[in-house]
């Protein structure tokens, strides 16, 4: 055995050991807090463990309409500020609902052209002038602006949904965008499907409430602790967060000052796992809601080089905000989305003009930026409730999934046994080598699934079974080549060598073409179908390794030991 062989053998041992280690938690069904170095098990798709899968569509026409109206107001204000030009609104044209246009009127064409030039100077990239006629000017959103709106709308819808799912307590929810205008929500293991659907279908509720800081935080903590001792405790597996809040506030009714209730800021919104919750005492009634908010953006203070969030209120909202801030200087105002506190900035001064800034606490530029982005997203989510449509809903009961696993696995094993049997009868000892290759193949595929934290679905199991059927192909190509060489009268030793050499590019070509189809499927598929593409692709990669490289390694060992006297193929 030469040095190259030992290196390859070492690699093989490493691959097998790693695969086996990766699969032990799944095979032994370990708990998550095991002392075993690997914790992750194979994720079962919701077709195997039951759950809810939804595709939601976002209605953009309404968002575009609101946005173009906002710009109309801005332009009117801007031309007045900059050049004292009077502009009037002449209405919205929604002939094309995906490209709404807004008409502004001016005293004469001259002023109109001046205004047009100003718009090009100030809002190029955001709006485009579509036509000018007489004293009026029509404009619409630019394509880049619409794309940005789409991305924001998708982003905030995902944030809103995640927020609600968090409240619901689901392990490993998947909430991702698909294409430009769709969101996929996969909730494996969810039982109360109707309730989950209702929660997701609501539009976001953003509220601004005054915080009562007279009572120190320790007292609030004490109340939470007292409730906990009385058995009122949040457990994301058994109850919804809003339910916990209701119970807590009922329980503390005597302690709480009149007109106030408890609310919490969850430090990490992305996980439901034991995130520390900061208690707040807020007013029962909200001072202002998301409906009064026009927009919220992240901006950067050029002097301090610090990001902050700027909010624009609608006309009536601006007036209310001015009043509230005037009355509550020095107090904190909580920004609450769907019942959760996101931020509680202190009011520094009376704020008029409908524009407010929220500066954020310490930390580096990046962490402030992240915080600002999140807050702006939350504010916008409340400001512009995006209507979501249910495009697809698929639910699988838990028993069906369990049945599916058992039957598919059993059938897969029977199929593999048949293949093994056949290959051993046909190729004898070489068939046993192929069997070893195939077994390692399946092991590697499953281990990679764990490593990638990919999800195993029913079509995924089908993909693995199919991989076995197709992986034998590589062995067959090699063996048939070796036989051809033997028939030519070449020595066994050379036949094996030549067989592997000549088969190599055939195997590569054949597998790459299959992989191309797999990639297209990965791109097309969603949910369970994607699982098929994933296992198929992993299977192809594993096949090239196991059937060619592992097979060759075993043959070299065998030929060396027996000096190529007798080749059983």
């Amino acid at each position: 055995m030469n040095r190259s062989w030992w290196v390859r053998f070492g690699l093989f041992l490493v691959v097998v050991t790693l695969s086996v280690v990766a699969l032990i938690p799944t095979a032994m069904d370990f708990d998550e807090d095991t002392s075993f170095p690997v914790e992750s098990k194979i994720n079962l798709g919701l077709d195997l463990q039951g759950g809810l899968y939804m595709v939601l569509g976002i209605e953009f026409s309404q968002v575009y309409r609101d946005e173009v109206k906002t710009y109309a107001q801005r332009v009117i204000r801007m031309v007045n500020d900059e050049a004292g030009i009077e502009a009037t609104s002449r209405g919205l044209n929604e002939a094309d609902i995906l490209d709404p246009k807004y008409t502004l009127g001016f005293v004469d064409p001259l002023k109109r052209d001046q205004a047009r030039d100003l718009m090009r100077e100030f809002y190029s990239g955001y709006v485009r002038v579509t036509s000018t006629e007489g004293s009026s000017l029509e404009f619409a959103l630019t394509r880049t602006q619409k794309t940005q709106i789409q991305e924001q709308a998708v982003g905030k819808s995902i944030e809103v949904i995640r927020n609600r799912i968090d409240e619901f307590g689901v392990n490993e929810p998947e909430i991702v965008s698909q294409g430009d205008d769709r969101i996929i929500v996969a909730l494996p293991g969810v039982r109360d499907i109707e309730r989950a659907k209702d929660l997701i279908g609501q539009t976001a509720r953003l509220e601004f409430k005054m915080v009562n800081d007279d009572i120190p935080a320790q007292t609030l903590m004490g109340w939470v602790e007292k409730a906990r001792e009385a058995g009122i405790e949040f457990d994301n597996k058994t109850m919804r967060f809003s339910e916990y809040l209701r119970q807590l506030n009922d329980f503390l009714a005597d302690d709480l000052p009149e007109g106030y209730q408890m609310a919490f800021e969850k430090n990490s919104r992305l996980t439901t796992e034991d995130a520390p919750m900061i208690p707040y005492l807020v007013e029962d009634e909200s001072k202002l809601t998301g409906e009064q908010l026009q927009d919220a953006r992240v901006q950067i203070d050029p002097q301090k080089n610090e990001p902050y969030v700027s909010m624009d209120f609608k006309t009536d909202g601006a007036r209310m905000f001015e009043e509230i801030t005037g009355e509550n200087i020095g107090k904190r105002m909580a920004v609450i989305l769907d019942g959760n506190v996101y931020s509680a900035p202190t009011i520094q001064a009376r704020i008029g003009g409908g524009r407010a800034q929220i500066t954020l606490g310490g930390g580096g530029f990046n962490s402030i930026m992240q915080e600002a982005r999140d807050l702006a997203l939350v504010l916008r989510a409340g400001a512009l409730p995006v209507e979501l449509q249910f495009l697809e809903q698929r639910t699988v009961g838990p028993s069906l999934g369990a049945d599916s696993i058992v039957t598919a696995r059993t059938a897969g094993l029977i199929g593999c046994a048949l293949v093994f049997l056949f290959i051993m009868i046909y190729y004898r000892l070489s068939g046993v080598v192929a069997m070893v290759c195939l077994t390692v193949n399946v092991l590697v595929v499953l281990a990679i699934l764990v490593g990638l934290e990919a999800t195993l679905t029913l079509p995924g199991i089908a993909g693995i079974a199919l991989t076995v059927g197709m992986a034998v192909d590589a062995n067959i190509i090699i063996y048939e080549r070796i036989r051809e060489e033997i028939r030519k009268g070449v020595s066994n030793f050379k036949a094996v060598d030549g067989g592997f050499d000549q088969a190599f590019w055939t195997i590569i070509d054949a597998n790459i073409t299959t992989a191309l189809a797999g990639f297209m499927l990965l791109n097309f598929g969603t949910g369970p179908i994607r699982g098929f593409a994933v296992t198929l692709l992993i299977g192809i990669a594993a096949t090239v390794y196991t059937s060619y490289f592992v097979g060759k390694m075993i043959f070299e060992f065998y030929m060396n030991k027996t000096e190529g006297q007798d080749l059983s193929i």
């Binding site: 599916s404 059938a411 197709m470 048939e480 054949a510 073409t513 191309l516 189809a517």
Partner: protein
């Protein structure tokens, strides 16, 4: 010599003149493809994924008649509900297919559950699976499914063109399109539903069929390089014969799996493996009888290097 002990399904030195058989296989396939296109267009049953609507899978512990279910659903406001037995009779499982407006679809699970659990109280009704697809999503899925197949074909055509020669590309693609159309033809005539899973199966079939074809092409190319003096017809014959046992063995092992999965893998993936099994059978046939003649056909346009016609009556392949 150990070669004597080898177990062979195709004896060494088999020389079937496949090229001669092309004159039967090509018209035969043409007829099948045209007939399949006709049945696909006129008879294909599109599943809930593409058609839109709702599909509810129900299981009872007691014996329930499909017609009773149908009448209860009709009373509950679903007069056009289609109720089918699903799986083995002792499972008491049914598939209910419903159509409706979008608003109605959103409520469908509750409506079905409340009306049926009243009508069949004590029968242990359980809703096992619900698929609701709105009309928009159905259209979207149709388009993306078609796109995925198209892109797969284009990608394969380019790859085969670059790795081999562009005279091979059309052969691989024609063979694959042939396979997909015939499998879908069988689906339409046997009233199996065309679903997302079918699309996935078709992509797997595309992968498998090209894989099969490429192995033969690989051989043809090898012989072309080794013996440039011989005609392409002769190379094709030799290549098919030499790879014949591999072609059949691989189809065999893949069929072992797909047929077992079809029979024992459960209802949820039965149609999927039906499509795969058909695809493997037809893909194997097309590798030999469709991909190869297409290469010959396109070779005629190839710089006029080859004789105008295939040389007359070579007695099998000769190396």
């Amino acid at each position: 010599m150990s070669a004597k002990k080898m177990f062979e399904i195709i004896p060494d030195g088999t020389k079937i003149n496949f090229v001669k058989l092309f004159k039967f296989s090509v018209p035969f396939s043409l007829v099948l493809v045209v007939a399949s296109i006709f049945t696909i267009v006129t008879m294909m049953d599109y599943g809930v994924d593409f058609r839109g609507g709702a599909e509810v899978q129900l299981k009872f512990t007691e014996n329930i008649q499909a017609k009773n279910l149908r009448s209860s659903l009709s009373q509950a406001g679903f007069p056009n509900a289609i109720v089918q037995d699903f799986g083995a009779p002792e499972d008491h499982e049914f598939l209910v297919k419903l159509q409706g407006e979008e608003d109605q679809l959103n409520q469908i699970t509750e409506d079905v559950e409340s009306s049926l659990s009243k009508a069949f109280a004590g029968s242990g009704m359980q809703i096992r699976k619900v698929d609701i697809v709105g009309p928009k999503a159905g259209a979207q899925l149709r388009i993306s499914g078609f796109q995925a197949m198209l892109w797969a074909l284009i990608a394969i055509m380019i790859y085969v063109g670059l790795r081999f020669d562009f005279k091979y590309s059309p052969g691989a693609v024609v063979a694959v399109i042939h396979d997909v159309i015939i499998v879908l033809g069988v689906f339409s005539i046997t009233h199996l539903e065309f679903t997302l899973q079918t699309v996935a199966a078709m992509l797997a079939v595309i992968g498998y069929s090209v894989n099969d074809t490429v192995v033969v092409y690989d051989r043809v190319r090898e012989h072309e390089q080794r013996n440039p003096a011989l005609t392409l017809t002769q190379h094709i014959n030799t290549a098919i014969n030499e790879t014949l046992s591999r072609t059949l063995l691989t189809s065999g092992t893949t069929l072992f799996i797909s047929v077992t999965m079809y029979f024992f893998g459960g209802m949820a993936i039965r149609d999927f493996f039906m499509a795969i099994s058909l695809g493997v059978l037809i893909g194997t046939y097309s590798t030999i009888f469709i991909a190869a003649p297409t290469v010959l056909f396109f070779n005629r346009f190839d710089k006029g290097q080859q004789p105008k016609k295939a040389p007359p009556e070579t007695t099998g392949a000769q190396v």
